[in-house]
């Protein structure tokens, strides 16, 4: 339940050490750089936009080249590789990458070039194939397609739609003899013909041919450089060209494949430039004079002395710390134990604590796991979740990245809580033990494992009461958190007016409700409350209600408005009512898991007879429960979040802060490993 104390840090250093100092800070990753000092005549910010642009360009080229490479050669990745985290790389390798830098950039460019070459050549093959298709009908023609005639003759080469016979064509042209007609080829769609006539009759012949819808072959053939060759020869050339283009493609693909072994260099280039880009962004925010530069930013108090010692021992510089100013937008850095830490992300996705707010993670985590478990409430499912997550955590304990580790841990704790509630309410994959026992082993002494407390299906009202009771505890905890926060802000009036009065109102209200027979009848519980207690509760209820009306509108000076606001605040009790009812989802979702599980078991048991029975039974059980687990785990996750965000946070927490984003190494594939704890930065 804590946030780390942050303070300002200033580092005054010589420009000649700039690179080394920044790289050291980046590897330590404990300082969030912010520009806090104004520029003046001596100190100014330098323009790094050109360098940044270059790096951004390189990053995008490398990204593209990696994805292209992945298109041609799939990288073999196991499903679990996401858990394995980034590879570690010694600092020496990082330092020695400078020599490989240029060639790797060129390789990335070459890969992009190759993909273009491949695409262009594929288009070329397509174009050539179209030409072959156009030429194929003319393959029997032994003169070039662009033949126009001789000194005394005129030739027409072209197509007529639909099949024609030689006689039909001669018939049409009979009056313009002498002429020669050849049919080159006939298909259903067209007839390719060659007509040769004397020069003086060419116009008439052309007119008749036009009447028969004669068309010249498509222009593209005419314009070929090889148009003077006969179609057969042209076809041969085209086939050769296609072969050549295809071999070009193959060569490009081969070259691409040869880069597969360099994939790691590309990945490293991406990381390397990402780190450099981040460094340049920081450089752009520094103020510098001719020989000196100043870094300003935030650091956690606990990290300060270590970084100060390291910096001053290595460089000639001055490090200074200062308390954050009042108007500073101080970044938030959590400090929680291993149990609550996984839920920092959940708080962040609502909103990190604003200035002066407390970190709700610790208190929230207690309820989070419990509520999740109660909604899923099946020991079998919980066991599966917990064991899977624990397996991942143990197997990859050395390399797993923090966010993934936290996710797994969160679900592991959720799973453990689910096992707990599952045992309390005796739900093991629905009622699998009973069904298997009854169906296959003839067990009559049911249930095999009785619940520690009760079956929610049999006593839904008791479960509802229990759910709402948990809700009341949750909400009152939220209210207590508000009190704690007000105490931290030293707003003692607020504690009395906004917290204690409400506590009195709510608790006396609950006592009053429980003293009514109608309510206890509905809930199916018996409560013995003495008459004195009821009277006391009644008085307290009335008094606290009046107190709330009088005090909760205190920010208004005008008395009438103040009372109205107070009344409106008292109306907020209806909000508590709906908040408490909202916890009925614990019952509904818990029952849903159990009942659907039993349905699956029952369906499976219907098939259990015969030799294949047990096999079909197993298949149905596995598939059915996998589905049920998936859907209900999703529901439990979503609604746990809702109960935390809406009901719990609604009582005390607003958020609006900013997460601490230290200047560090935010790479995708590699992390830099230091060989000694401090040092190795030359």
């Amino acid at each position: 339940m804590a946030l780390l104390q942050m303070q300002r840090i200033y580092i005054y250093a010589l420009k000649k050490d700039r690179k080394q100092i920044l790289e050291l800070l980046q590897r330590r990753g404990v300082v969030e750089v912010r520009s806090m000092l104004k520029e003046d005549k001596v100190f100014s910010k330098s323009d790094v936009s050109v360098a940044k642009q270059n790096l951004e360009k390189n990053i995008s080229i490398t990204c593209d080249s990696l994805s292209i490479l992945n298109n041609y050669i799939k990288e073999d990745k196991s499903i679990l590789s996401a858990l394995a985290g980034r590879k570690e790389l010694p600092v020496e390798e990082y330092d020695s990458f400078k020599e490989k830098y240029k060639p790797t950039v060129n390789m990335a460019k070459r890969i992009i070039e190759l993909s273009k070459i491949i695409a262009e050549n594929k288009a070329e093959v397509f174009r050539l194939q179209t030409q072959i298709e156009i030429l194929t009908p003319w393959v029997n023609l032994d003169i070039p397609l662009n033949f126009k005639g001789t000194k005394f003759t005129r030739g027409f080469i072209g197509t007529l739609p639909k099949p024609w016979t030689l006689e039909e064509i001669y018939e049409k042209l009979a009056q313009y003899m002498p002429l020669d007609v050849d049919i080159i080829s006939t298909t259903k769609e067209q007839t390719c013909i060659f007509v040769l006539c004397t020069n003086d009759k060419k116009d008439k012949v052309y007119e008749v041919l036009r009447g028969m819808e004669f068309t010249l072959p498509s222009l593209s053939i005419d314009q070929l450089p090889t148009a003077d060759l006969s179609p057969a020869e042209q076809l041969e050339l085209l086939v050769q060209q296609i072969d050549k283009t295809k071999s070009n493609i193959q060569a490009a693909i081969d070259e691409m494949e040869s880069y597969d072994k360099n994939r790691n260099e590309l990945k490293f280039l991406l990381d390397y430039d990402t780190m450099r880009l981040e460094k340049y962004e920081v450089i752009g925010s520094l103020i510098q004079s001719k020989n000196v530069f100043i870094i300003s930013g935030f650091i956690a108090e606990k990290d300060f002395s270590a970084i100060e010692e390291e910096l001053t021992s290595k460089f000639d510089l001055a490090v200074e710390s200062a308390e954050p100013r009042k108007r500073d937008d101080i970044p938030v850095l959590y400090k929680n134990n291993g149990f609550s830490e996984p839920l920092e992300g959940t708080v962040n996705s609502f909103s990190p604590p604003a200035k002066g707010e407390m970190d709700p993670t610790m208190v929230m985590s207690l309820f989070y796991y419990a509520l999740f478990g109660l909604m899923l409430s099946d020991a079998g499912y919980g066991f599966l979740i917990a064991v899977t997550c624990a397996f991942g955590l143990i197997k990859f304990r050395k390399t797993i990245e923090k966010p993934m580790k936290n996710t797994l841990k969160m679900y592991m704790f959720c799973g453990i809580a689910t096992v707990f509630w599952g045992i309390i309410f005796s739900s093991y994959f629905g009622d699998i033990f009973d069904v298997v026992g009854k169906t296959f082993f003839g067990v009559t002494d049911l249930p095999v494992i009785p619940p520690v407390w009760f079956y929610p299906v049999e006593k839904p009202m008791l479960m509802l009461t229990f759910s709402m009771a948990i809700g009341i505890v949750h909400l009152l905890t939220g209210l207590a958190m508000k009190g704690y926060q007000l105490a931290k802000q030293k707003d003692y009036k607020g504690i009395i007016y906004d917290v204690i009065f409400w506590y009195v109102l709510l608790i006396s209200g609950i006592v009053l409700l429980l003293s009514m027979k109608m309510v206890t009848d509905i809930l199916g519980i018996t409560v013995n409350i003495s008459d004195v207690a009821v009277d006391v509760a009644g008085i307290l209820f009335g008094a606290s209600a009046v107190a709330i009306i009088l005090t909760n509108g205190r920010e208004s000076k005008q008395p009438f408005k103040r009372i109205l606001k107070g009344l409106y605040a008292l109306y907020g009790i209806s909000g508590y009512l709906s908040d408490i009812l909202s916890y009925s989802r614990l019952l509904a979702l818990g029952l849903a898991t159990g009942v659907i599980g039993s349905v699956i078991n029952q369906m499976a048991s219907m098939t259990a007879g015969g030799f294949f029975g047990p096999i079909i039974f197993t298949i149905i059980v596995i598939l059915g429960h996998a589905l049920n687990l998936g859907i209900n785990a999703l529901g439990a996750y979503v609604h746990t979040n809702r109960l935390q965000y809406v009901e719990f946070f609604g009582k005390f927490y607003e958020g609006g802060g900013k997460v601490f984003k230290p200047f560090g190494i935010n790479t995708k594939y590699y992390k830099i490993k230091e060989s000694t704890k401090y040092g190795n930065v030359k």
């Binding site: 996705s349 839904p460 509904a588 659907i596 349905v599 859907i631 979040n641 809702r642």
Partner: protein, 163 residues
């Protein structure tokens, strides 16, 4: 009147079947709305698949709640083995008990799908705001859960009545 009592089981079964049918139809439509919106996001940014899938699935629960009520009812009225002897009044009561999840399940699934689609839009533009985006559809679901609760209590209650 005695003869009419033979039809009690018909009313009860109608309630059970409608509980599976109507919210099921609505959830199918609702999930498909989410799927259509989600597919658009995935074409741009495949890495958001997990988040979009969760948002798509949220309005799918109404169908499951309906199924749940249908199953409880079926087992109570003896259709899944047992004695199907149910008076006309009792049958009608079962039908009435199923009504909350039938009606609220239908409308809330569609409304929740609208919220889901909007939230998918949020994730497309601001993937880091997934936590908040998820809450909007979940708010709508509250009412389906309340309806489920009442239907469940009512079906259980009716089975205990001696009429």
């Amino acid at each position: 009147m005695e003869m009419l009592n033979d039809y009690g089981i018909v009313l009860a079964l109608a309630g059970a079947v409608l509980a599976a049918l109507i919210p099921g139809i609505a959830s199918a439509k609702a999930v498909s709305m989410g799927g259509i919106a989600g597919a658009g996001v995935i074409t741009e940014d495949p890495s958001q698949f997990g988040k979009v899938l969760i948002l798509q699935l949220l309005p799918g629960t109404q169908g499951i709640y309906g199924l749940l009520i249908a199953f409880i009812t079926l087992s109570q009225i003896g259709v899944l083995g047992g004695n199907g002897d149910i008076s006309l009044v009792k049958g009608a009561l079962y039908l009435a008990a199923c009504l909350p999840i039938i009606i609220v399940g239908y409308t809330s699934a569609i409304r929740q799908a609208n919220a889901s689609v909007a939230s998918i839009g949020v994730v497309a533009k601001r993937p880091d705001q997934f936590g908040k985006a998820m809450i909007f559809p979940a708010m709508v679901e509250t009412y389906a859960i309340l309806a489920l609760l009442i239907s469940m209590l009512a079906v259980n209650g009716v089975s205990g009545l001696n009429i």
